[in-house]
Amino acid sequence: MSETKPDSISWLSRDVVSILDFSRSELEYLFDAATWMKRRLREGSVPRLLGGKVIALAFFEPSTRTRLSFETAAKRLGAETIGFTGEEAISVAKGENLADTIRMLDGYADAIVIRHRYEGAALYAAEVAEHPVINAGDGKQHHPTQAMLDLFTVKELFGAIDGLVYGVLGDLRYGRAASSFILALTLFKPRRVYLVSPPLLRARDEVLEKLREAGISYEETESLEEVLGELDVLYVTRIQRERFPDPSEYEKVKGSYRVTRRLLEERAKPELKVMHPLPRVDEISFDVDDTRYAAYFLQARNGVPVRMALLALIFGAWR
């Protein structure tokens, strides 16, 4: 028995915990909505689809980009926001546990956006709250709305997500944006996925397992140079110094994963697009910014229309 709900209905009141909570068709519906939002933003004609709604932004971990883009998305659509960030969260909570803080916010707001340093915090919050909970990053695990805007950006650049060769570079073990991006690809049909990282920062078992389950052709490698020439999309993430027990190891790794204009001009296909969830440290040198390869600023700007689309779908305000 197949009982597929139309996407507009399946989005209604949904929690957004992992990108794998969604089907390909649901994501494509989201991208349609995001395209519409983007056009309306450009025309300056965004309707107040969420007038009267209150959205709680509960950022237990500090954030700039993600929080501001959620806040902007909510406000563009006419919603109000409440919330806190980082240090403030400690005084808001004053030793209160997460469950109680979530219950309080659930009483005030129509939806809760949460970022927290513990893996699983968003799922837990979704179990506690009656209103929809959106995961804006739980520890090293998931960052589903980042993956949504990443795929939307790929689709915008190439017209399709299928059939491309992807390279995901950097900290694949602790980086939640990288993990969510890889998981998101399992919902589509990439031609090949290269996972480029030092051995210490290889993708986690549960992520590799999803690639295998989805029958995706992938390869783990340490060398960007070797695979760069094949790539359509290079997704770069930050390698954090604090992950390395030995600082000299870090220095070696850092150097080998630096994406420079020269490297790209020597090795990359002309159509290659370089993406990055930002903020970057020095893994992409500034001289890449004004090349045809750089897609990370476009990607960052897409955060607002994609999150507008997400909110509108969850509240059943767009179809």
């Binding site: 546990n97 997460l98 340093r117 513990y118 699983g120 739980d138 549960e206």
Partner: protein, 151 residues
Amino acid sequence: MRKIREGTVIDHIPAGRALAVLKILGISGEEGLRVAVVMNVESRKLGKKDIVKIENRHLRPEEVNKIALIAPTATINIVKDYDVVEKKRVELPSVIENILRCPNPTCITRKPREPIKPRFRVLSKNPLRLQCVYCGTILTAEDIVEQLIGG
């Protein structure tokens, strides 16, 4: 050991796991229960097996589930008046709640003062692999044995 009049016989335990089963049940011998442990005996189904017989003790459902984690082939025989009156295979529930702890120190289930139970979904039964519902961490059969009977 003479036949027991009343109690439980845990049969078809993989060879070498009998003491682990006792440990899971919290039976050290100091409780004064009469316990017989038979190890490495021939079995038609398993080649070799262990058996544990415990007089005057019946198992709670969560104890049976725990046994399933380390001795998935075990059968639980309930003895009344010297006869086996009920026989059931242990069965792994599809979700394991409360029994195991997530090894990931930053899993939400490890956060102090949260009313949350650790929960694992069964990824595969043979070999046994579990996954934390909250943080995605995968536990292998060895991790599970180590945690339940470790050191």
